[in-house]
């Protein structure tokens, strides 16, 4: 794991800056493509417009979309992510977000309700005490960050596929969309939502999920990169349209399967 991460785990200063510049999303997004004019790329591609602007951005995103389809094809719903012994849990497990730990959302447990929406029979919101009563599953799996580092953690909660069945979700719908307390969001594909290890996580290492790791709810998906594992989840929608997500919209691959 990177030394940098120990100071502010997972906070990439460049991404923070990029984040701050979100008022100007278009120019900043173009900026990284102009930045492609580095190394030998310019020497090789000079004379072409390909590096500049929308042509390049669109071309690369088309490939990324294609890569998403390739990954969906490679995804085997029966292949389980490797599980590890307790002795291999990374301690302390890193806090990771695009903001610092003291800026993490503070969710009031008594006021909290998980909102359910979309193609679901029973849209009754869920309180935490109701969720804590559901049958618990556990996993010790590797969290792999898009940045490259990884950490092994221990998560407990409700099997998401069981929960989706419990609320009468349309399992033939294409997507599940999660909204989070700080405005973060993710859309995931239904096959991943139904994967046996995809978990509506309520605990870390058998303790109620601490604020740093996403209290009150994290969606733990060991078959996807870390940013596709939303924390501080406040709402879950089952739907057929892709609502995108915080990082996906900025250019990270939508599927991001492992």
């Amino acid at each position: 794991m990177a030394r940098q991460r120990k100071v502010l785990p997972g906070v990439d200063p460049k991404l923070l800056i990029k984040d701050a510049g979100k008022l100007l999303p278009e120019p900043s997004r173009r900026l990284f493509l102009r930045g492609a004019a580095s190394l030998g790329a310019l020497a090789v591609l000079s004379g072409c417009d390909i590096i500049d602007g929308d042509t390049s951005e669109n071309a690369l995103r088309v490939v990324s979309k294609f890569n998403g389809r390739v990954q969906a094809f490679l995804f085997n719903p029966h292949t389980l992510a490797p599980e590890y012994p307790e002795s291999m849990i990374t301690r302390p497990f890193p806090f990771n977000a695009y903001y610092s730990e003291d800026e993490a959302p503070e969710v009031d447990a008594d006021q909290y309700q998980l909102e359910i929406g979309g193609l679901v029979d029973n849209k009754k919101p869920w309180t935490l005490s109701e969720l804590y009563k559901l049958p618990e599953v556990s996993q010790i799996t590797r969290h792999v960050c898009v940045e490259g580092w990884s950490a092994i953690g221990s998560w407990q909660g409700v099997k998401l596929s069981d929960f989706l069945k419990l609320i009468g979700a349309d399992l033939s719908a294409k997507y599940v969309w999660f909204q989070c307390a700080e405005g973060y969001s993710n859309t995931i594909d239904m096959p991943t939502a139904l994967h046996p290890q995809t978990q509506l996580t309520l605990k870390f290492d058998h303790q109620i999920l601490p604020r740093a790791y996403g209290f009150p709810i994290k969606i733990r998906i060991p078959t996807k990169l870390g940013f596709k594992n939303p924390k501080y989840v406040t709402a879950m929608w089952v739907q057929n349209n892709d609502a995108g997500g915080y990082w996906e919209n900025q250019g990270y691959n939508w599927f991001s399967g492992l």
Partner: protein
């Protein structure tokens, strides 16, 4: 010996304008050169997001400007690298070019040619025949290419291809293997490009074939 081999050999005897590199070698070589630059440049940017060692690559020489941009480049250029690489390796095997150019490879000849090269006495009058050091380096870089693609695949898909990730010693070790393979390729490039500059006719041969 394949028919292509016979034709090439016939050309080596006393014909002034013999073909040193057939068109497929030149085309795949330059596509590979572009793909390698894109992969290495974006790979450095990706490395910087979570460095394995106590250094980072300067932003000026890293591609993509930020992690997301670099990942878009890396996972686009990988298709270029892999498809082109498969075409090159298939043709290299099918035409017998690998067998003809890279073998036999004897340790004693490698030692002899290496010493000659270090004394600046390695003759380079026939570009169509590789000396033993060249054979070793070209064979080595081919194998390194296989390692960098497979280790990359094992980092990209550590769940779906977990057998491959295990083969490389697990997720974390596979990242080091991928980095080491990149280092080997960059080291090869330094030597390769320097020698192409020192022996300009070898560069010409890779462009126009003769």
């Amino acid at each position: 010996m394949s028919s292509v081999g016979t034709a090439e050999q016939a050309l080596t005897i006393g014909v002034p304008h013999k073909v040193i590199h057939p068109a497929w070698v030149r085309v795949t070589h330059w596509i590979n050169a572009l793909a390698m630059l894109l992969m290495i440049g974006s790979g450095w940017q990706i490395y910087d997001a979570s460095p394995l060692f106590g250094f980072e690559f300067p932003k000026q020489i890293a591609l993509g400007n930020w992690l997301g941009g670099a990942l878009l480049w890396h996972f686009a250029a990988m298709w270029l690298l892999v498809i082109n690489g498969l075409v090159y390796v298939s043709l290299g095997l099918l035409t017998g070019r690998f067998r003809r150019k890279l073998f036999p490879l004897r340790p004693s000849e490698v030692l002899r040619d290496l010493l000659a090269a270090l004394r600046g006495k390695l003759a380079h009058d026939d570009l169509s025949v590789y000396n033993a050091v060249q054979k070793l380096l070209y064979l080595g870089i081919l194998l390194t290419g296989v390692v960098i693609v497979l280790s990359g695949l094992s980092i990209w898909k550590p769940v779906q291809f977990q057998w491959l990730t295990s083969f490389f010693g697990g997720y974390n070790t596979a990242r080091y293997v991928h980095f080491a393979a990149m280092t080997a390729i960059v080291a090869f490039l330094v030597v390769h490009v320097s020698l192409a500059v020192l022996v300009p006719k070898s560069l010409r041969a890779m462009i126009i074939g003769r």
